[in-house]
């Protein structure tokens, strides 16, 4: 573990110095995970590529200021940059406007049900998330994966807290529908 940390730190140092070989190694190590992170927010493949490209450039530029806090911290830090870039992309494409449409009321839904993702391949879950409407998806991602509160989400996306909560609620509802559908298909086959 300590050896791993040393290696990670040595790689980090090389990337900081601008060594392209180290950058490639960094890319090879983290691009898979970062692509998965980006894909949660951005459904279009081309957009994913654009956002990732911007993210990597930011990462390589800002990596000098990154403070190493043990194994995994570099990965987490990089993922946060990707999330920021993805949010920027969503904001710029003005897709979030939909979320503040008035009259969005919470549908009546059994609140005690929670999505059950067991036995569903991660790949499939990711696809389900990608299929969610942009607002639901963004809030769901921030809430579940980035562990942001509705208050934080509200200020990040310039929406109200209640909108954030309702979007999450709807996202969960849609996901549960998808899960049921998936299970049903599985059974039918």
């Amino acid at each position: 573990m300590i050896r791993d940390e040393n290696k990670e730190q040595a790689l980090l140092q090389q990337v900081v110095r601008g060594n392209t070989m180290a950058m490639k190694k960094f890319y090879d190590t983290y691009s898979g995970y970062l692509t998965a992170v980006c894909s949660r927010y951005v459904p279009d493949k081309e957009d994913v590529k654009d956002v990732l490209q911007e993210s990597f450039i930011k990462i390589f530029r800002a990596i000098g200021k990154f403070e190493y806090k043990g194994a995994g911290s570099l990965k987490a830090w990089s993922a946060r940059i990707v999330v920021n870039e993805a949010l920027k992309h969503i904001r710029e494409s003005n897709k979030l406007k939909v979320m503040n449409l008035p009259g969005e009321e919470l549908p009546d839904m059994a609140d005690d049900r929670e999505p059950d993702f067991n036995e569903i391949p991660t790949q499939v879950i990711l696809e389900m998330i990608r299929k969610l409407p942009v607002g639901y998806r963004t809030v769901f991602n921030l809430y579940v994966f980035e562990e942001k509160s509705h208050k934080e989400i509200a200020s990040m996306l310039s929406i109200s807290e209640s909108t954030s909560a309702s979007q999450l609620h709807r996202a969960k509802g849609l996901l549960m529908q998808e899960i049921d559908l998936y299970r049903f298909k599985k059974m039918a086959l």
């Binding site: 110095r17 601008g18 180290a22 998965a36 450039i57 929670e114």
Partner: protein
């Protein structure tokens, strides 16, 4: 318990990877190299005097080549006249630098000539054994050259060494009693040859800062330290960093070429040569700082198709000199890049990648050659020449890119097919 599903899902996603979009790294590379136009010019790059000398010699060589072509065409008649009158062994006045080569052969030349006067009909079997032996010898010579030849001085490349190796064989050859056939000074229509060549000058350079085998990414310190966008990037801390001297050493070894070619004699003075050759380029790069660095070794294999036009300047008996000019296209067949990542003198990690250079490598060359017919259908030749390799769009650093203009010496064996 309410958030149990969230934690589970988060943990699963933490482990999940998606294939990165195709071409992302490539476009990233492009974007970054475009952005790093401020990139450091490699500091401390020493252009050795040698490079300049080669340039000068090459320029003179090319000019001489064309002047030579022109004037010699005018004098062609005289040359042929001289050719007929020349004794079997001309004094090597015109090529004082090749003295050793000529001297070597003077002793053996006579018996060979006598035999030639008796004439000889090519025996197929003899030819083939000679050919295989030759390949060995040429390879041996090439190995020797590789070891013995210092990067400086194409002059001391050892044509005589090859010759000496040949002498016993020549003598053996004389013991053949072959049916008589008169050999005129006219060369056979078809000739083939085997050769080895290298560029006597490798290249070694020292740079400050990091480098890579690809041309991308000479990033300056300033660039790397540019502050990120003002947004609240997580982990935005300024860390005091100690400065370490970072260096890069690039060494391109001498390219080594082996080849076979076929020469077609159009008439007494003009001929066309084409064939196939194989070249190995290898380079070594170490980059990093004193206690952790990358050590890479790059090897590229090329298959080349050369076409040259030769003009015989002067011929007498067994000896002839010629000049040639032509071009070559080379295709990269395979390549490897192995990188060791070394931390505190221990190999921390080793990676081996396949490497390929997609664009073709074009080059033009000009050479002067001296050819000596050991015996009826087998001749040796030495060709010092200059080659210019055009830049291609590939980002892979090779000696061709580093030093487009190169001196090379080719040594070979020529077999002529008499009708």
């Amino acid at each position: 318990m309410k958030n149990q599903w969230q934690d589970n899902l988060r943990n699963r996603m933490e482990q999940h990877e998606e294939p990165a979009p195709e071409g992302l790294w490539e476009s990233l590379e492009q974007a970054m190299s475009a952005g790093s136009s401020v990139g450091t010019k490699p500091a401390g790059q020493q252009i050795r005097l040698w490079d300049k000398r080669i340039g000068a010699v090459a320029a003179v060589g090319i000019v001489l080549f064309f002047i030579g072509l022109y004037t010699l065409k005018e004098n062609q008649k005289n040359v042929q006249l001289v050719e007929q009158r020349q004794p079997a062994l001309p004094a090597p006045v015109t090529h004082p630098d090749k003295g050793s080569l000529l001297a070597d052969h003077t002793e053996n030349g006579k018996p060979a000539t006598e035999k030639r006067q008796r004439g000889a009909k090519t025996v197929e079997t003899t030819k083939t054994t000679e050919t295989t032996e030759t390949t060995d010898v040429v390879e041996a010579a090439e190995r020797q050259q590789e070891e013995a030849l210092p990067p400086e001085g194409p002059e001391n490349s050892p044509p005589s060494r090859v010759d000496r190796k040949y002498n016993p064989e020549t003598n053996d050859g004389q013991s053949f009693r072959l049916p008589a056939k008169r050999r005129d000074s006219r060369p056979a229509k078809w000739q083939t040859d085997l050769y080895a060549s290298n560029m006597p000058s490798g290249s070694a350079k020292h740079y400050d800062g990091y480098r890579n085998f690809t041309t991308f990414g000479l990033k300056s310190e300033e660039e790397v330290h540019v502050s990120a966008t003002g947004s609240s990037l997580p982990g935005d801390f300024i860390v005091g960093k100690e400065y370490r001297h970072v260096y890069t050493d690039v060494r391109h070894f001498q390219p080594v070429t082996l080849g076979v070619s076929l020469k077609y004699n159009l008439n007494d003075s003009w001929s066309i040569t084409s064939g196939l050759n194989y070249t190995v380029l290898s380079s070594q790069l170490s980059t990093g700082s004193y206690n952790h660095y990358y050590n890479s070794r790059q090897t590229l294999h090329y298959l080349g198709l050369p076409v040259t036009v030769n003009y015989t300047v002067w011929r007498s008996g067994q000896l002839s000199t010629y000049i040639s000019g032509g071009g070559m296209v080379e295709k990269n067949l395979a390549g490897t890049l192995s990188t060791d990542y070394i931390v505190d003198n221990l190999i921390e990690e080793r990676s081996q990648d396949r490497l390929s250079v997609k664009p073709l490598q074009w080059s033009v060359s000009s050479a002067a050659g001296i050819e000596y017919w050991l015996w009826k259908s087998i001749g040796l030749y030495a060709e010092p020449g200059v080659t210019y390799h055009f830049k291609n769009s590939s980002g892979v650093e090779t000696i061709y890119r580093e030093k487009p203009l190169n001196f090379n010496i080719r040594l070979g064996l020529r077999i002529s097919f008499n009708e």
